[in-house]
């Protein structure tokens, strides 16, 4: 018997907006799917592009990246820098054939507890439909004799 596929989703969120927003989701008793592992970073500006690649390499089927809305960054401009980086990185990943549909970028503020739940639910449903990201997971053992 094979277990039904439960996607692993890694969420990289900023400390000030999205993490607080996700906290609000909890304190508001809004239920959402439990497939997400939240990794809190100080700011989206700190979310190095390689963290995304590392998440896939370590078995993530989907990735959420979320931080403060433009203009609301705790450090004034971290999210603007992050946005530029994503604009380039997303194109590059797509060019290399990495499945960018498995990566969701979002702005979730500290007041948007409901949006966080909605985001996680949507992403989880989407990734569940896509299935496991097998081809990336297989890289770990390919090319070693």
């Amino acid at each position: 018997m094979t277990e039904p596929f439960e996607p692993k989703i890694t969420a990289f969120v900023c400390n000030w907006c999205t993490y607080a927003g996700a906290d609000l989701t909890g304190t508001s008793r809004i239920k959402y799917q439990s497939n997400v592992r939240v990794l809190r970073l100080p700011c989206t500006g700190r979310i190095d592009f390689m963290l995304l690649a590392k998440a896939f390499a370590r078995g993530a089927d989907g990735i959420i990246i979320s931080g403060c809305h433009p203009n609301d960054c705790h450090y004034t401009s971290g999210n603007y820098h992050a946005r530029r980086r994503w604009m380039i990185y997303r194109n590059l990943m797509d060019f290399m054939g990495i499945d960018t549909a498995r990566i969701t970028f979002s702005w979730v503020s500290a007041a948007e507890g409901a949006k966080w739940a909605e985001l996680v639910n949507e992403v989880t449903t989407g990734i569940r439909a896509m299935g496991p990201y097998t081809e990336y997971k297989q890289l770990a053992n390919a090319g070693v004799e």
């Binding site: 592009f49 390689m50 690649a53 390499a57 433009p70 203009n71 401009s77 603007y80 820098h81 946005r83 530029r84 980086r85 994503w86 604009m87 380039i88 990185y89 997303r90 194109n91 590059l92 990943m93 797509d94 060019f95 290399m96 054939g97 990495i98 499945d99 960018t100 969701t104 970028f105 979002s106 702005w107 985001l119 081809e135 297989q138 890289l139 770990a140 053992n141 390919a142 090319g143 070693v144």
Partner: protein
């Protein structure tokens, strides 16, 4: 005045300590050549492939003193970008170019370099453009298969990195091991992550000389990865690396109205 004569003059007057150009190599190739005395200028020429700007940041070359460089447009762009990144100063390098009359001209200032470059528009070679378009037309899965096939041949010799004029870091992120950010072994994951990091680190900095791809001993078109990153900077932020010695790094700046379509 032709290059050899100019080189001789510059070395004899002591204006530069070495002239870097090209000379006939073996196997019908032309290769980089260093002339450190007037007696050694006899084979120097402008024609060759390796981007000579990759030498001017090397410790062994910096130690020589001021150098003159036979500078085709990609070399000039790389030199300007190195100035923008504060890796070389105007007075450390003297680019030599051929003017419209076939005379060797000294471009002693960044401004002169920029003006000379403005004469020849920057273009990705047709063959590369064609392959990029072909890749663009593929499905994601086809692109994945294409790159996995290509990168499986990678032996991680770092010829691409070491040939690149913009890869001057003394301690490359590939060599960092606390943490071990990118796997050292040349297995599938190590190769993919290496080329991903290389392309991202060159986004907004790649002068599109294509030398990484040319250097690859196993013929992987890796230059297309940095081209993609650079083109995407140009398309979205409107600037090209190597255009000016005063260029801001595209990824360390931003505009509040940067336009994207994928963040929800």
């Amino acid at each position: 005045m032709e290059l050899r004569e100019k080189a001789k003059q510059l070395l004899e007057s002591g204006e530069v300590k070495a002239v870097i150009g090209y000379e006939p190599g073996t196997q019908g190739a032309r290769r980089p050549a260093f002339a450190s005395s007037a007696a050694r200028t006899g084979r120097l020429g402008f024609e060759g492939e390796q981007n000579l700007a990759s030498y001017v940041t090397r410790k062994e070359v910096k130690r020589l003193g001021r150098v003159a460089v036979a500078a085709r447009p990609p070399v000039l762009r790389a030199l300007l970008q190195l100035m923008a990144e504060r890796q070389i100063k105007e007075q450390e390098v003297l680019p030599l170019v051929l003017d419209a009359d076939g005379q060797v001209q000294e471009l002693a200032t960044a401004q002169a370099m920029e003006e000379h470059l403005a004469l020849s528009p920057q273009q990705i070679p047709a063959r590369d453009r064609e392959l990029m378009d072909r890749l663009g037309g593929m499905t994601r899965q086809e692109r994945w298969d294409f790159w996995q096939g290509e990168l499986s041949r990678c032996i991680k010799c770092y010829a691409c990195r070491n040939s690149c004029p913009m890869c001057y870091c003394e301690h490359c992120t590939m060599d960092c091991n606390r943490p071990q950010w990118v796997p050292v072994p040349s297995h599938a994951l190590g190769n993919l992550e290496y080329h991903m990091v290389r392309a991202m680190h060159l986004a907004g900095r790649c002068v599109e000389c294509g030398d990484c791809g040319r250097a690859c001993p196993v013929g992987i078109p890796i230059h297309l990865l940095t081209f993609n990153a650079e083109e995407s900077v140009h398309a979205q932020f409107g600037q090209r690396a190597g255009a000016s010695s005063k260029l801001d790094y595209a990824l360390s700046t931003f505009r509040p109205d940067d336009k994207e379509t994928f963040i929800r």
